[in-house]
């Protein structure tokens, strides 16, 4: 006999970091329909940026849209604004911005992996990943002075310059992380029980991923070769010889593996940035007020982040629009959840790495 059950998850739940409500209908433990509600954390950041804060403060305000990818938000806002005001950004500042972005990517991916481990019952693996993640947090503190909200990118460059001592300390941190990464990979990939748990769960096919317009690790794990780092020329990623990584299976296991590989890749990028950091000023003067419209795209840890700004010569933007990666991925969530077992839901949800405060703004 088939019995339908409705199971609500959230808005407050032990497995959720953020308030998000999902209503599942299940038939014999399989999900047949899902409805989501994610407006709990809407604060009105866009509205405030268009009414109260002048354009020089906006990068710091939008950083508070999301604490996990704060630096990507402020960098994207800065890159968009710089196109419509007078300012010359030095090569060095651009490289330092890339450095901060890559550190952010590592810490976000590690948090996601830890969360996946916890939600699928591997408490020790969660602890282990979080422990190694602290190295990145410390590196971020060395670079910028704060662990989470570091307000590093600002109009005209970055807020702090880096000396050789700091570069040495950063190199030591990523070197240490590199040596422990293989152990972490072993636990996630080569372990028999994690393979049983992750393989074939929460899969999305290449066509679906393409049709539903997914971005970021979810798309890349399904085989879509999309990475804004190579598609846009706002930041000089090409000079670093960057190539996107793709996997094929599109399931939870592939997403984990892709994230681990991207961490390794980011470490390599960081080493190359620290080696070839050009000389110059880290901050330059900004003149004039924003006039005209501009947009910027950037690869956040979760995928494409899009910023649109429009100014009319006043100190306050006429329009600011943020399109976040989780918003682009929402449609795919449903496709991934349908047909899955209810017990896998927390793990799948964690591996999709949704960011509600990004989505609701």
């Amino acid at each position: 006999m088939i019995k339908q059950l409705h199971i609500p998850l959230g808005s407050q739940h032990a497995a959720l970091l953020e308030p998000l409500r999902l209503d599942f209908s299940t038939e014999n433990e399989r999900i047949v329909s899902v409805r989501s509600d994610m407006g709990y954390v809407h604060r009105g950041v866009e509205h405030a940026c268009m009414n109260r804060f002048d354009f020089k403060k906006v990068p710091f305000v939008v950083a508070r849209v999301c604490g996990l990818c704060a630096i990507t938000h402020s960098t994207a806002a800065v890159l968009a604004t710089e196109q419509i005001v007078e300012c010359m950004v030095s090569e060095r500042a651009q490289w330092l911005r890339m450095l901060a972005l890559e550190f952010d990517r590592i810490h976000s991916h590690m948090l996601c992996l830890a969360h996946v481990a916890e939600s699928s019952g591997y408490e020790a693996l969660f602890m282990h990943t979080m422990m190694e993640r602290e190295r990145v947090m410390e590196a971020q503190e060395i670079l910028s002075g704060n662990r989470v909200q570091f307000d590093y990118a600002t109009l005209g460059g970055v807020t702090r310059d880096m000396d050789s001592q700091c570069a040495q300390a950063l190199l030591a941190k990523v070197g240490a992380l590199k040596s422990v990464l293989s152990g972490l990979r072993d636990r996630f990939e080569a372990n028999w029980s994690t393979q049983m748990r992750f393989k074939g769960v929460g899969a999305i096919t290449l066509e679906e991923a393409y049709r539903l317009g997914t971005v970021g690790p979810i798309a890349r794990a399904a085989g879509v070769r999309t990475d804004i780092r190579i598609e846009s020329s706002h930041l000089p990623y090409r000079a670093l010889g960057f190539e996107p990584i793709v996997a094929l299976e599109g399931d939870l296991y592939a997403r984990n593996r892709l994230r681990l590989e991207e961490i390794a890749q980011s470490i390599e990028l960081i080493e190359r940035i620290l080696e070839g950091l050009p000389e110059g000023a880290h901050l330059s003067k900004v003149r004039g007020r924003p006039k005209g419209e501009a947009m910027a795209r950037i690869e956040a840890p979760r995928g494409e982040l899009f910023y649109y700004v429009r100014g009319n010569g006043g100190a306050i933007f006429e329009r600011l629009r943020i399109r976040t990666p989780t918003y682009a991925n929402l449609k795919a969530f449903e496709a991934i959840f349908l047909g899955q077992e209810y017990s896998s839901i927390p793990a799948i949800l964690a591996s999709l790495d949704p960011c509600m405060s990004c989505t609701a703004k």
Partner: protein, 174 residues
């Protein structure tokens, strides 16, 4: 008496995100992880309000989440303490006066310990929780009530029925 003494040794935490940017949330998570490891103080994170002693709140309390916050608060058993983590939780911070936020948790429920910082560092969070534990020690079983959005408290004989306490909340919003 004994319970009073040992409550302090293993306080359980309930964490609620009332519209924060996740910055402070991941620092709370970092506190639970090996580097800062609050579990050595007996602190465990449990998602159940009925079992929790400490309510850790982050975020300036958005209009959508305020009734959940009050509901969670009223469901917790006394004695209980509330720790506001992060500048935006204490006063609204950067979100102050935005059109969809409520300018801080203390507009809605009584707060015992404030942790400032954007984002609050794990050391600060641990200190704030330790301060809250001292307060918890001296608290009685007297029923504490939210400032806003609250319903009546009924008594029948010896028993107090608090089920209605958060009921008015849903009337107001729906």
């Amino acid at each position: 008496m004994r319970l009073e003494r040992f409550r302090k040794k293993s306080p359980w935490i309930l964490h609620y995100n009332a519209g924060s940017c996740n910055g402070c949330d991941i620092e709370i998570l970092a506190c639970l992880a090996p580097r800062y490891d609050v579990e050595r103080l007996g602190i465990l994170n449990r998602g159940n309000p009925k079992q929790a002693d400490i309510l850790l709140v982050t975020g300036p309390v958005t209009h959508r989440s305020r009734d959940r916050l009050v509901e969670l608060y009223t469901q917790m058993a006394e004695p209980k303490v509330v720790v506001a983590v992060g500048s935006c939780t204490c006063s609204g911070g950067i979100f102050r006066h935005m059109y969809h936020v409520g300018d801080g948790v203390d507009q809605f429920i009584p707060v015992d310990s404030y942790v400032a910082g954007c984002a609050a560092r794990p050391e600060q969070i641990i200190e704030g929780v330790a301060r809250a534990l001292e307060i918890l020690e001296h608290k009685s079983h007297e029923i504490e009530r939210p400032f806003q959005l609250r319903g009546p408290l009924y008594c029948s004989g010896e028993q107090t029925i608090r089920r209605q306490m958060a009921a008015k909340v849903s009337d107001e919003t729906n």
